[in-house]
Amino acid sequence: MTRRPFKGAILLGLMALLWEVLPRTGMIDPVLLPPFSEVASRGVELLGSGELLRHIIASLLRVLAGFFLAAGLAIPTGIALGLSPPLEEYIDPLLQLLRPLSPPAWIPLAILWLGIGNAPAVFIIFIGTVFAMLVGTIAATKGIDKRLVKAGFTLGATWQEAILLIVIPSLLPEVFTQLRVGLGLAWMCVIAAEMVAVHGGLGYMMIEARNLFRTEDVLVGMITVGVLGLGLDLLLRSLEGRFLKWRRGRSARELFGDQRSP
């Protein structure tokens, strides 16, 4: 376990070094790419002034609002649709049409309908994540092992009990996957939304910095977005590990000689 972060650090360190050396030696214009150390110290400065934290919180709150709304709708609806083929046949064409629309494609409409502020941003996150999670959940529900449900029936389960005690638990791993996909998408959407629809948040911070030609601030914003996206995913993964104890040791990686514990 201890060797893994170390391995990852090698490449990261190398990149930071290049990032430092190339602008310093003039091989890249430092105005376009300020050296790493300058970006880092600017990051510390922004963090110290509380400005960065303010933007982070604004973005996070929007992501969580949009994501929870979307997940709250998509997961139960997806399970219901997956269990009811007739209903799904009505809705599937609509979903297939709406799903490929990229979230930024909704930005003009969101601003027209909801103006500027949190509402359009949350709307874009919602709309940008809900279809992916819905389609994923439907597919997962359709793929559920029917034997398990039948086994439950012959042990005396009613329909409601079968859904509650068999369908949902057996879907949990897939639901977590959908949540991770959704949260990742939400984090991408919020940056796009904040660049046009809101005054505040990391996306806004970056677009403002660009307008003022503060390349360091743009880069600080980018690093922050990356780190927070990773953090959110790790958070969900640790929740997943806690909820899905029974899956430990079932990873296909084991087959390929991966010696780390999953």
Partner: protein
């Protein structure tokens, strides 16, 4: 009156060109406490029969009567054991066994006691807290049997439960099933394509025709248990049943499903 009666059972899937007749006028009875094995080639509708008796599928015609009552839908009085992978993977062996009891509203203490008792009888006491993927195929099937027994069904329905374990494990599981059956006195309706397995287990063997399934012949197996696969009488019966099945022009039955050597007529 018989305990379990299968009456004029028909099952048709699809329509038009895709119409498949799985069962056509299936008729037989099972007495209380009896171990009946339904034997037939793949695709003869054996599984369909069990699904209908379990109430998971509706017959196109005919009916199933259990204890004088016509069967409508599923219920815990008829527990079905599948060929494989039917344990809930997110529950431990003990929790799997407790599943039906939990639904019945049994207290957690009562559940634990019953589950422990049954698992102990199945020789699984030390594996109670294991998850299904940590158990071998044979152990998983024992847990599945324990889970079915826990709800105290009137009939145990078994759909080729030992078809996907290795030969050694299979013969152990067969012995164990007989012990359990004798201990609990359950009525068992067991489906297989192996003549040998049918003869080792059954009070009575019901041979089905290939699709559409109908009763082709019935054999009472009046031999004391435990039976030896090498016993002369068993070999005779095996040859007779094999003959019965191969008379069928389209028979695709695996006559030597798990016999190591061809059946040799005894002197």
């Amino acid at each position: 009156m018989s305990f379990l009666a299968i009456r004029d059972l028909h099952k048709v899937y699809g329509a038009g060109d895709e119409r498949v007749v799985a069962l056509e006028g299936l008729d037989f009875t099972v007495e209380e406490g009896e171990f009946v094995v339904v034997l037939g080639p793949s695709g003869c509708g054996k599984t369909t029969l069990l699904q209908i008796v379990a109430g998971l599928e509706r017959p196109s015609r005919g009916e199933v009567i259990l204890g004088g009552q016509r069967i409508e839908g599923w219920g815990r009085d008829r527990s079905l054991i599948f060929q494989e992978y039917s344990l809930f993977p997110w529950l431990t062996a003990r929790e799997n066994v407790e599943f039906g009891l939990k639904i019945m509203g049994c207290s957690s203490e009562g559940r634990r006691r019953i589950a422990h008792h049954i698992l102990e009888r199945m020789g699984l006491a030390s594996f109670e807290e294991r998850y299904p993927h940590e158990l071998s195929g044979g152990m998983q099937q024992r847990v599945a049997i324990a889970r079915a027994l826990a709800v105290d069904p009137q009939v145990l329905l078994m759909d080729e439960p030992f078809a996907s374990v290795d030969a050694l494990t299979r013969s152990r599981l067969q012995d164990e099933l007989l012990r359990i059956w004798q201990g609990y006195g359950k009525t068992v309706l067991f489906v297989t394509h192996s003549i040998r397995e049918a003869l080792l287990l059954a009070d009575r063997v019901i041979v089905l025709t290939p699709r559409p399934g109908r009763v082709k012949a019935e054999f009472a197996v009046d031999l004391p248990r435990p039976r030896q696969a090498s016993a002369v009488e068993l070999a005779h019966l095996e040859a007779r049943i094999a003959g019965e099945i191969t008379l069928e022009p389209l028979a695709s039955v695996d006559v030597r499903a798990d016999a190591g050597a061809p059946i040799e007529p005894h002197p």
